[in-house]
Symmetry: C2
DNA sequence: TTGTACGCGTTATCAG
DNA sequence: CTGATAACGCGTACAA
């Protein structure tokens, strides 16, 4: 079942069938209708490989993420895929894990599949060592590379990021305004997004004339139990704190569990702020005040930019989106 | 940069290059080494389209899921993708939503992309009307169709399911054994998996000589707040119950919130059982007793079966995997 | 408006 | 063990 079968049955040449297929206007209504009829009758679909062979493109975008089961990334994938589909593109998903080596492997795999662009979803793809990012910069010489919540400077590389610094800055400021003075900061990673959040926390303290104390800043696995146990440990070691600012809802849930175990009243004895406004935020008692990082807007903007790139429109190499603070019951504000 | 460039530079024919590429043994060590050297030097990668054109296959599997942001499906995608990769296959992901029409569209889209198989992840793909599933049965005439936690009879269709009936049956039995007599059943959908869970609940009651009362069985959106409010409503209407069995952790979290609002002691006044053993289960206080539906095992088995199909091994058309009951603090057992 | 003929890069089948 | 050559199905100059 190919274009020849259709052309034979419709009594036209393959060129005409191809024209009908691709909406070329230089076909009479009559033959167009006849060809369409035959295509339907035969249930014909053009062969993507043959098409790709000639054109070198296949309207498919590669999406890389470190872990699709992470709620944030899972949503990102969902929105990216949806927006691509709307624009007539398919997507190939790769879950890379966190090692640089596998990331490079998947990146090359996608390039070998001749995808039209690669989207790096999440801030885990940019390495601190410049050299470790050259594979991305090299790849960008052939196809556009889109970063969702990550930033890398380079030709044909486009970043869409959430203003994490500002978001944490604002939330920390409100904690302070509501009377908190000893704010623990819990974070999971030193990624682009991670360092920005941290900066927001530090700047807010400094801005309010409060000291930034290293003993209040702790890294922690993205895991409820780890966060709970870490706080338990800190309290046992005599650290006094009246609020916990986190880089992820998971850690904030851990903080709530900690408060329950210590019989602390939330938010009076302990205020807690999460990040991502995930479904976890409404699973807890009390429900979690959390920063909405606007995944959907981020993903939509990413795809819009990408389509702009494809259409030769002049698009910004960096787009920043503001986060929202969703106030619930774990803060006094 | 193609096979001709390599052949020229290596001083052999393209046929030989192709043989080297595909590990054909009929090449002398010497020329093999030379060709490999040239390929590395030129950084040559074979063109997937040309390969696909000739072979009609591209070692890519289509994965369909209704919503990749659902935690259960997100995990399923992760495991499926990983297992496929291990076996040298890539995957194209489609998030279909829930309407039959879009499901069919995506299904056909994947077929037009010439994927080697389609995996339908989750139990939302099999429609109650036989006619609505014919598109799947038709597709199976060309490529194997794999169902993850769904069942459809047909040639070249393979199902891997979790024994949901047994799991709920057992958990309900334990609720009864621990003294519960009035067990509300909350469920989200009437899918294959959904009806089996329900059957487990009913059979357990019947098996213990308890009546199955429709006023104890309620459908509910997969949403914490909906579940909480539904129970609030039921209690207000005078329904008396001492346990809530659910088809999803989300609903169970809602039940915990309900208990908190009513100042009920868990599990003494109210026992609660979730389903899927998701991360929600450890977000709550008290932590949730939940049924582990073994997504990873399900996905591994699915891909193993699929590889068996590709290799012409005689594989079962249906594989059933037993669930685990994870006991935490919302039940007396 | 329509048709012919060629190129895209690979694999597979022969013949040597 | 190696090479020449015919598919594979489509898009598209170019010719009519």
């Amino acid at each position: 079942m190919n274009i020849y079968d259709v052309s034979k049955k419709a009594g036209v040449s393959i060129a005409t069938v191809s024209r009908v297929l691709n909406g070329n206007p230089n076909v009479s209504e009559k033959t167009r209708a006849r060809v369409h009829a035959v295509m339907n009758e035969l249930g014909y679909t053009p062969n993507v490989f043959a098409r790709g062979l000639g054109l070198g493109s296949i309207k498919t975008i590669g999406i890389m993420c470190s872990d699709s089961s992470d709620p944030y990334l899972a949503h990102a994938i969902y929105y990216l895929e949806r927006e691509l589909r709307v624009n007539g593109y398919d997507s190939i998903l790769c879950c890379t894990g966190n090692s640089l080596e596998t990331k490079q492997q998947y990146f090359n795999l996608l390039r070998s599949k001749k995808v039209d662009a690669i989207i790096l979803a999440g801030s885990k793809f940019i390495e601190p060592k410049v050299k470790d990012n050259t594979y991305i910069i090299d790849g960008a010489q052939e196809i556009p590379i889109m970063l969702v919540n990550g930033y890398l400077e380079g030709d044909n590389i486009y970043s869409t990021v959430c203003d994490d610094r500002m978001a944490v800055h604002k939330a920390t400021g409100q904690l302070i305004a509501s009377g908190c003075r000893k704010i623990v900061y819990l974070y999971t990673s030193n990624s682009f997004s991670g360092t920005n959040k941290m900066k927001g926390y530090r700047d807010a303290l400094t801005g309010h004339g409060l000291p930034v104390r290293p003993e209040y800043i702790h890294q922690c696995e993205k895991n409820v139990i780890c966060a709970r146990d870490l706080l338990l440990e800190l309290a046992k070691d005599g650290l006094v704190f009246d609020a916990v600012m986190t880089s992820d809802d998971t850690l904030a849930v851990g903080a709530i569990k900690y408060a329950h175990m210590q019989d602390l009243k939330i938010p009076d004895d302990l205020s807690i702020v999460g990040y991502n406004n995930s479904t976890y935020a409404i699973c807890t008692d009390p429900e979690l005040t959390s920063i909405d990082s606007k995944v959907e807007a981020l993903c939509t903007a990413t795809i819009n930019t990408l389509m702009g790139v494809f259409n030769g429109v002049n698009v910004p190499s960096r787009t920043t989106i503001a986060a929202d603070l969703i106030k619930r019951a774990t803060t006094k504000f």
